[in-house]
Every structure is written in structure tokens, then in C-alpha cells.
């Protein structure tokens, strides 16, 4: 019973945050609703027993990636979104489409899949067990993702550098 109350509570917060992201006109409000969604998702992960994943979700996703989004929104400071022709069409077709799509997904999942239940903390995700998997079975993907992050860092620095610096390099080189 408590499980159902907690799940529904955090689930409603998730969905409210997602809908708020769509409804808000200023991107900073959308970014903050996304942070709320990620926090509520971390609580849902805790309900499933994945404690390490929940902590990493808060530290990495809500605490670093979204901070990056908020920085960019603050620096570019472009203001609220405008209503254009294209956006009105998208709204007229998109919102009913979204509702119909979600109801279809929900109906199919609830009626067709097996109704095995999942307990609170069904699969305890202890850091030790996850580390065993990460460094033994998934060692190659782990090393590849570290190279991926290095490439992403270099790419971001090059792409966001001021054009004058690049042209200076071309003039001298």
C-alpha cells in the first residue's frame, strides 16, 4: 500500500514536470521542471532498489548535465519563445497525438504484458555488485565510454571557442 502511494506520488511529480516542460514558454522554467523530473525519477529508482543508480542520477544528471543547460540558457539569454505559424500547427496536431499515443502505450502495456509484481527494493543495486559487473563483464564498454567523453570534451572546447581565436591560428599557421 505504501509502495503504491509512494510510486503514484513520485510518478505524478514526474508527469507534472514533463508536462510543465512542454507548457512553459521560457526555457529556464523548462530546465528547472526537468530537474524536478530527474529528482522524482531518482526516487523511483530508489523504490526499485537501485540506490547507486539513484545517487548517480542526482549527482551526474541533475547536478552536472542540467547545470550545464542552465548555464547555457543564462548566458545566451534569448528570452521567451515566440508563437509562429509552424508552432501553432504543431500544437494542434501534437497535443492530441501525444494524448492518444500515451493512452495506446498504457493500454497495451497494462493489458498485454504479464502482471508479475515488483516488490519494493526488488533488486538491491549495491555499489560493490555494480562495480563487479562494470569492471569485469562491461570493461570494454567502460573504457570506450571514457574515450567518448574525452572526445566530447575536446569537441565542445573547439566548437564553443570564439571564432577570432581560430582565425588568428589560421593567419599565423
Amino acid at each position: 500500500m505504501l509502495h503504491l502511494i509512494l510510486f503514484t506520488g513520485f510518478g505524478l511529480v514526474c508527469v507534472a514536470g514533463a508536462v510543465n516542460l512542454l507548457v512553459q514558454r521560457h526555457p529556464i522554467n523548462s530546465a528547472l521542471s526537468l530537474v524536478v523530473v530527474m529528482g522524482a525519477l531518482a526516487a523511483e529508482y530508489l523504490l526499485l532498489g537501485a540506490e547507486f543508480v539513484a545517487a548517480v542520477q542526482v549527482i551526474v544528471y541533475a547536478g552536472a548535465v542540467m547545470v550545464l543547460f542552465v548555464f547555457v540558457i543564462m548566458l545566451l539569454n534569448a528570452g521567451e519563445e515566440e508563437r509562429t505559424q509552424g508552432s501553432r500547427v504543431a500544437l494542434l496536431l501534437g497535443v492530441p497525438g501525444l494524448v492518444v499515443g500515451s493512452l495506446l502505450i498504457a493500454w497495451v502495456l497494462i493489458h498485454r504484458s504479464g502482471t508479475e509484481a515488483v516488490r519494493v527494493g526488488a533488486l538491491p543495486g549495491y555499489p560493490k555488485a555494480i562495480a563487479q559487473l562494470l569492471f569485469h563483464d562491461f570493461l570494454l564498454p567502460f573504457e570506450v565510454t571514457s574515450i567518448l567523453v574525452l572526445i566530447a570534451i575536446m569537441g565542445a572546447v573547439v566548437l564553443a571557442a570564439k571564432p577570432s581565436q581560430v582565425q588568428q591560428g589560421k593567419k599565423e599557421g
Binding site: F52, V58, F71, P127
Partner: protein, 344 residues
Amino acid sequence: MSIPIFIAASLIKIVITIVILLTAVAYSVWLERKVVGHIQNRWGPTRVGPFGLLQPLADGVKFLVKEDLTPPHVYKPLYIAAPMIAVTFALTSIAVVPIGNPVTIGSYAVPLQITDLNVGLLVILGVTSLGVYGVALSGWSSNSKYSLLGGLRASAQMVSYEIALGLSLIGVLIAAGSFSLREIVDAQGGHFWGIIPRWNIFHGQIIAFFIYLTAAYAETNRIPFDLPEAETELVAGYHTEYSAMKFAMFFMAEYANMITVACLATLLFLGGWHGPLFGPPILQALLPVFWFGVKVFVFMFIYIWVRGTLPRFRYDQLMAFGWKFLLPLAIANLVITAAVTVAW
């Protein structure tokens, strides 16, 4: 324990912790003013009450009755929400900090901690990461150039030094084998060679301790890393446009962060509540809490001492120091700790 008793015990613990934390915040302000005053060869507050001990009360009343001015050019929703965010996250991370051995009241063993999570250390790191939002949003929503610059500088600094902070703690984790703060302290019990306690600072993590100290000063925006709120540079940085209670909330958040960092340093490096135990059982139950308090006080005193003594870093020096010196040093510490642990 059944659920209702657990909830009741948790509520009582929450109330006691919040009261103690807020009183500690108020009196750490008093301590700072007295200590910095004496370092600068003056008295500090002496008028309000004996030794100025009622000064925090006077300050609190002042903040409450001051006019709460909301400038017209701010972005109102975030302007009002940002100090609340800062204070909420500053007060949340104290929930996983244990202050003593479990105490037996009646027939229940009550751990002196609101919750003992398996991933307690990660929760504190996560809440620290979330605290950046309070600073960044307050700087931006104030719609003023000093605030924006101060907010951006402060948040960039906090995000950069979080990495060195987290990496310096991994050595401690390797030694203790768990993320739970209670187990990390329990792993520091006992002595080796009979006299020297097995605190992590004596047991090989001295460099990690200094990395943690430096990164903590940068995280809480204290001297020598307090350029984002330096008066001579940026008026008041990200809290320029705030007055009265909202400013008081930022103030409280900063000192609460300092106390949390001090508690964490005590737990991870200085052996938590371990100390000489003597006397009758009632005393033995309370002495660990006393030793914990003494160590936190020593750490806060070092914080204030450094504030009164050192000049501040320039911003580019600060960022270069964090990325080019502290981060490689933390990684080297981690590698050496891991190698020594495997080899031994």
C-alpha cells in the same frame, strides 16, 4: 521498529537536528566575528550580552524586521525561489551525518543519525551538486551585471572543485569499503602501535585531507576562494539585489554548508566520534557526541583562522589551481592509495 515508532523517532530527530544546526549556524557567525576581530587586533562584538553572545539574536531580529525590498527589474519566480533552494539543500545534507554511537533509549537502539543510507556519502555529494542551482539562479534572476557575473563565477567555481572534492574522498572509501558514513567511522576505530588512533588522516590519507580542505573552501566560497562574493570586486556578487530575510537565507546556507563540510571532514578523516572514553556508562554514552563536537569546532576554527589570514585568489588563478593542480593531485592520490591497498 514498527513504522509509526520509526516515523515518530525520525520526526523528533529532525526537529532536534534542525534546532541544533540553526543555533550552530548563528553562533558560528558570532565565532567568526570574534576570531577575525582578535586576529585583526580588535574586539569583535562585545556590547550585546556578555562577550557579545546575544549578537546573533540581535542580528536575527534585524533581519526579520528589515524591509524586504523586491526590485522591479528582477525575474520574480526565480528571485524568490533561489534563496529557498539554497537553504533547503544546505540543511538537507545533515540528514545522513551520524554524531555518535547508537544510544539505547528504553528498548530501542536509536542511531544518532536521521537515516543511515548505504550510499550516504553519495547523497552528500549529490546535495552539494544541487546547491549550485541556488547560486546560479539567484545571480541570473537578479537581472543585474554584478549579480550575473558573481553568480556565474561562483557556480563555475563550485562545479570545478566538486570533482577534486569527490576524488579526494575515494581514498577514504577504499580504506573503509563502504559508502555508509557509519561504517566509514567504524573502520577508523582502534589504535595502531598502541597510541596513534587509526584515523584516516594518520592512516595514509593526509594528502587527501588537504585536497578535501582546499576543495571545501572553494565549495563554500570562503577565503581564499571567495572572489564571487568579494566586496571590492563585485559589490556583493550573487546576493547583491537581496535584502533582509532572503539575504539571511543565503547567509544561513553558507554557514550551514560550512558546518556540513566540517562534519564530513570529521567523519571521514578525523575518526568521527572516536576518542578516549572514561567514566560511568551515562558519561560513556555522551562522550562520543562531545568528541564529535570538539572536532567539528576545531575544523570550523581552522576555517575562520584561514579566513582571517590569507589573501584571496584571482579568478583565473583559482580555476587554474582547481583544474591543473588539485585534480591531478587527487587522481594521483587515488591511484597510489589503490596500488598500496592492492599490494598490501
